[in-house]
Assembly symmetry: D2
Homo-oligomer: 343 residues x 4
């Protein structure tokens, strides 16, 4: 294989064959640009049909675009967004949230990548004081950047905490499919049922070429979002090619199938690696990520076989992610290498 | 045909078969995300090889992203960008340039969509006065929003005008391929040879699914652009799927072939339509656009057959665009309809 | 006199003695900073008492701050502000409105510096089209940058036009006192009675050291303005010294007396100058400004005696402003010089 | 006394009589607005004369304006500013730095309000990684928000650390006078000698009505700052009234005299309070601030006599600031109250 599959990121995987087939099928003749087409209305309807109440859905190019534009729809520049210290919006988006919303991100360390009402209490400061940014959004990732999950009850507790304070709950769902697959609940139960106000429905990491959806379960937040998206440089002209991918992803639960497979592979990887001397799994493996401390001297050798990222330089904790196309053979080969290096 | 080809926009067309083939070919195994892959370095090299001097190239999602991020690299927020009154950056990007660069766009009416040094002279105001934004960039579109072209000499005159004033010349090249094909000159001659500082190399309107390149011929302007792109929400994670489309577009001059065909179809459309009573061609047909005044009462009838946009409500001037997939039969059928309605 | 009074700008004048006396009187002991003091509540009350309905008032440092923060309270970044081509917000604030609101200013030429519903109709474009900024605010200056006035009926017509379209009317009142004095109506009649949503109450040009008030007659627009002002760098710490100036200005109608005097001086200046050969008054003299075309060759000579600005280089139209401290003797001396030079 | 002096903030004090005298003296006739006047050039020269090398100086309205505009001159939006967790720019400016520079503030806890190269090392992360903001400025306050001081050697160590990494050192000098007075060194020695790139020269807290100066010791950073200030809504029109205050402040070392007095009063306050049972001084008293833990139940009672702020709710640490007009009698009266309440 020219480009062997590894565990560096689910972004490193390609697209599911059904996605390419959907693009090929959509590639006929002319349709109106910018979303005024049947592919787009079809895909939007499929997402809206996942929920009971009214919702508003918008396709955008990437996860940073989804997060930033959704947050900008929920805030004014003097607001604050509460999140964890290792939230993607805080550490991996090159300051885009601050730049485009004007807001400050107010962060807390966590042990497992998860916010709680108690942690939020500590971040809820300076309310009403004109010198301080005003808390407006609680932002969490589901699954989290550490591969852990919020139960629907945990999300509900956060939504209740937020709503009591006239705040909103936003979910960065770059890996929402992995969460749904792992929890065995519908998006309706997990998100709408918990009172989530808006979330991103990630496609890119789950087997499509590119694309995310911003979903407002609180549809009032969507007022003017069409303009916000265009001004935010996230309106695709040949929208049908983005929409048709989501249409395919939502057909026959491909999104769940892809995620279930990735999650199962993470469990297998955990099993294979946890028995190896010197490897210590550091986080619950609940979705498609495995975090482990490994001997520092082994890192480069194992990376040379199959690249992955060191998550924490201090503790030499590494991150391994599985994806929709990871095979048991990939895992066994990787574990065999690890065993060879570490024994 | 389910989605008949029309003349509303080159954005309404699909992708060339070689583009889909390139995506399918790139869809194997894992490669590093965010552009650290061989597809991307290959495509970047192909673009850089079009020029003699050093250049810096970056792929982004769409034309607005390309224009806005390029302009932001050339300006500080107290600067002004000089452009025509119907520049895409002024009328069709929902204020994204102002929002993200902070700059003011200073505009002038034109008869043919083209800036000239004389027009620029009139826009060059308030220089050195702290109450006024300071002119920094001349921004033109090639081909223009009115389907007209700048000759290399005209671009050079603008570049010279700009450089004399410590300003830059930026070219919105959403249809740069149509310009190159029509002028019969290389991008090197047209742009580098004229002293253009940066331009966008449009892919979307020229037969790919999505994607544009920002090209800095003045490579100093590219300092920090990687961060600007990420913060600007324009960094694709599965970059190989964007890069491979450009790679295919630049192979065997597919980009020129597509553009030549679209241009030829515009000439044919002009020829067919200009003989019809009541139709008056209003702009030189130099690239892939035909602008015409038609009888107001005929507009809706003709649109019902094949949708297109009214460009100027006052004069009932309409815009017809051809694309890489327009056929002579499409044009003859459209002209036949027009004849039927107008006779 | 070390610094002779001229006609370049009402900003060039100093402060009325009663203003300095008010500052001296406020300069005792400690009071809480940032507006939590009796001077500030007193001054705010005095402004609110000018109106019948509820209002919200905030002091800021300068006119640009007032305009920009007020507009930001009325808009989201994808909105447009409609104004005249020579609006202060468009030409004299170095792009601050675009930079901080994100909005585009959409402008029209005028003959007299005044917007009308008919002119607004022409600027009201692209509504509902996601590619276009969405009109949200009509912004006018009262008195205008050309020294002309809107009657209350004209303001009402603009407010009605705006409100019918879910838009707001904002009045840049850097010279609102001159307008009130000239029209002989109360601010209540002129502004609240006409349906104005917000305005700036200018102090600086009317005899104080520095300071403007942002007044929301539509108090819903003031939600969060305290935070907006602080984030907008316009919250003064020793607020009492700003408030006490407004307190003094509103005592015994000093604001109106100052403005009436300036207006009367403009009338006198018009009278004196209009008889001089070669001088052609170009705008109605309705407030404290006189605009005139004068022979180009006389300009520098007259400026050398007493500096003023050329308003329009093409026509050699100049601007003369009077202020609260202009004396008839100042005018006669200036007119005498002009006569000498022009005869 | 109608407004008794307290210890809540040096912002609560009024202006020194010499300042009011300077304003009265400047209040004659007309001078050009926006800084083109002799008062302003005189005051700028007086500040520049404090240093050996070239410098650029600009007056602005307030401390937030000074900090934000100076930082914006040193950064692009994808940069990061390193500072302490309780830096004024981080906690007391309502997110203005993020809003207007686009940058992220990257913060660290400290025990004494001071950054060190070692702490900076920990904040220096993600360099060269396009997903991360790029460190560009080290920002410190002198004296700090905790009343402590950087020695010139400590500042030099930070400047060296920054310059080695192509970064800048910025000093928030809202209380730079207190630092200079306490250290007994000139601003030249403390700042220019240490390699500081830019600082704010605070006037407001040191006995003037309002006003700060932004000083670029690295004059290249000042390119375009005139436009930045205007666009940043910090250009005063009647500039002479701001300049003349600085002129007075710099005459006969009034700025140092005011600061020395405030510092001496802080020492006296420390001495008086530290002997009271239950009072524990928590920070070195090096400038004009005294931080102390006091019994929680005593707080409200003491505040009722003379208001002050609780700095840390958890530990019931309070902040007492002295100012140019604090008298020994003020302190003795306050200490007597405290003794009465606490005994």
């Amino acid at each position: 294989m020219k480009f062997p599959r590894g565990f560096a990121s689910d972004n490193n995987s390609g697209a599911h064959p059904q996605i390419l087939a959907a693009i090929a099928a959509a590639n006929e003749g002319h349709v109106r640009a910018y979303g005024d087409d049947a592919f787009t209305s079809g895909a939007l309807n499929k997402i809206q049909a996942l929920f009971r109440g009214p919702s508003e859905v918008f396709f955008v190019f990437n996860g940073t675009g989804a997060n930033v534009l959704a947050l900008s729809a929920m805030t004014e520049p003097h607001h604050a967004v509460l999140c964890t210290e290792n939230a993607h919006i805080h550490v991996d988006e090159c300051g885009a949230p601050e730049r485009f919303t004007g807001c400050k991100l107010v962060t807390t360390p966590t042990t497992d990548g998860k916010l709680t009402p108690t942690l939020c209490d500590r971040l809820y400061r300076g309310v009403g004081d004109q010198h301080h940014v005003q808390p407006r959004v609680v932002a969490v990732s589901q699954s989290t950047e550490l591969g852990t999950l919020y139960s629907p009850a945990e999300l509900k507790a956060l939504a209740d905490w937020a709503h009591k304070r006239d705040m909103f709950l936003y979910v960065d769902g770059a890996r929402i499919a992995n969460a749904a697959a792992a929890l065995g609940v519908s998006l309706q139960q997990m998100l709408e049922g918990s009172g989530v106000d808006a979330f991103s429905f990630g496609g890119t990491k789950n087997g499509i070429l590119f694309g995310e959806a911003v979903v407002f379960l609180n549809p009032e937040l969507a007022a003017g979002f069409r303009f916000r998206r265009k001004q935010g440089m996230q309106l695709g002209s040949k929208m049908r090619f983005l929409s048709c991918q989501f249409e395919a992803l939502l057909t026959n639960d491909l999104w769940l199938e892809n995620a279930r497979h990735a999650n199962a592979m993470a469990k297998l990887l955990e099993k294979e690696m946890s028995g190896i001397p010197g490897v210590r799994i550091t986080q619950k493996v609940e979705a498609n990520g495995v975090f482990a401390e490994i001997p520092r001297e082994a890192t480069a050798k194992l990376q040379a076989k199959s690249f992955f990222y060191v998550w924490n330089e201090t503790t030499n904790e590494v991150r391994w992610l599985t994806s929709w196309d990871t095979t048991p053979e990939d895992i066994q080969a990787f574990a065999a290498e690890a065993r060879k290096i570490l024994n």
